[in-house]
């Protein structure tokens, strides 16, 4: 008899509202790590949720969480869940917010109950209700996390292949992240397209941000270098860290006649000298000194 149970639940919540709230908050504070959430915020959230649960029970449909009556409680839980996901709570800690209401609620049901049968009914109804609410928080929590992850993936793809122009005729491609086949394809196409657009003679592939280089990655790099060479541009690979240099040698990867440099600065210096440019220190300044810049020999 869920209706009868619901009515008794409403009565219990009305009569023992303050007890419920105090015990509920105390349980949560004991379960959470210290300082994760301010007691005042928690009190506001708990009070609001308890009131919303009561209102939903009064307006009927005690166990149908999809019903209109529960929309207030659902929205509140969704808000709390999303904000906790952002604050770095675990899913269990988020669900505990609802589940920790069980002990205080069962406690008051027990003290207020008249007979064993109705007590069992009441506890069953309350359990069903709180479980559904807790599942709802977990679902919202996971959805919020997934949105975060997919947004970050998108950002990473967009950020990971910028082709920058260092000088007239010198392009640089700072690669960040692991190089897999699909990303290398994007990198290669972007680079070749920019070479055509800018008419650059030298392209520097900087792999400082590539965490590991295996044979496949090396092969991808070599393909990019060869394609650029076919179009008439020279490629320099820079930013090879000591561990990666060792890996390349241990794997027996043959980089052929590809020019490699330890740092982007070295590669840029070489690129400038290929174009017949030098960087000169500015002469000790007469007041109207000309701007110092790489100048043609």
């Amino acid at each position: 008899m869920p209706e009868a149970s619901a009515n008794r639940l409403i009565a219990v919540i009305d009569e023992r509202f303050d007890d419920l709230l105090r015990n509920w908050i105390a349980d949560q504070l004991a379960a959470l790590r210290r300082g994760q959430i301010a007691e005042n915020d928690l009190r506001v959230q708990c009070t609001e949720l308890l009131q919303l649960i009561r209102r939903a029970l009064v307006s009927g449909a005690p166990l149908d969480l999809e019903a209109q009556a529960w929309s207030g409680a659902r929205d509140l839980l969704a808000r709390i869940s999303v904000s906790r996901a952002q604050q770095g709570f675990t899913p269990s800690e988020t669900a505990t917010f609802v589940l920790s209401l069980k002990r205080p609620l069962f406690g008051v049901l027990h003290t207020e109950s008249k007979d064993a049968d109705s007590l069992a009914d009441d506890i069953w109804t309350a359990t069903l209700l709180l479980d559904q609410l807790a599942l709802h928080t977990t679902e919202v929590y996971i959805r919020a996390r997934q949105e975060l992850i997919s947004r970050q993936q998108q950002d990473m793809l967009e950020l990971s292949t910028p082709v920058v122009k260092l000088w007239d005729g010198v392009l640089a491609l700072p690669m960040i992240g692991t190089l897999d086949s699909s990303r290398t394809q994007v990198v290669m196409e972007t680079l070749l397209q920019r070479i055509v657009e800018t008419g650059s003679d030298v392209a520097i592939l900087d792999i400082t941000g590539v965490p590991t280089v295996d044979t496949l990655t090396a092969q991808h790099l070599l393909k990019t270098v060869t394609a650029a060479r076919l179009m008439g541009a020279e490629c320099i690979i820079s930013g090879i860290r000591p561990q990666i240099a060792q890996t390349i040698v241990h794997l027996g990867v043959d980089l052929g006649d590809v020019i490699t440099k330890a740092t982007l600065a070295d590669a840029f210096k070489l690129a400038l000298s290929r174009l017949g440019l030098t960087v000169a220190r500015q002469r000790v300044a007469p007041s109207a000194a000309p701007a110092s810049a790489p100048t043609a020999d």
Partner: protein
């Protein structure tokens, strides 16, 4: 039968491929070019493929062959203006055209050829006295 025109500019032969190559055309070009190199004592060949959008493995090999034939006849070959899509295709086909020089466009290719031809002690031609096609 169609032929690809070979233009003489001083010590350099200029070939501009404006159509998609088929096999017969490529073989004809190889013949004509080797004859022209011997006839004119050419030191450099510049092949412009900026209008070529489709290549296959045969076409890739023909480019390498032409460069090889030219080298035997003491001329260097520069392939210029390759489209990105063409470059990617050739790399995926495993054809890296070792031994073929490349440049981004005709201007850079010509500058490169003239530098090499001049440093090889050939006549330091200007291209002004270039006359027309064969």
């Amino acid at each position: 039968m169609d032929r690809i025109p070979i233009l003489r500019m001083g010590p350099v032969l200029l070939v501009s491929i404006q159509v998609d190559m088929h096999d017969q055309l490529a073989l004809g070009l190889q013949d004509d070019l080797s004859n022209a190199i011997t006839a004119h004592g050419t030191k450099g060949v510049l092949i412009d493929i900026s209008a070529v959008s489709v290549v296959d493995s045969f076409m890739g090999r023909m480019l390498a062959n032409i460069a090889g034939v030219a080298r035997v006849l003491d001329a260097i070959t520069v392939v210029v203006g390759m489209q990105p899509a063409v470059a990617i295709t050739l790399v995926e086909l495993g054809l890296s055209l070792e031994g073929v020089r490349t440049a981004l466009n005709v201007e850079k290719g010509m500058a490169h050829l003239q530098a090499v031809v001049a440093s090889a002690g050939a006549l330091s031609h200007s291209t002004d006295d270039a006359d027309g096609a064969d």
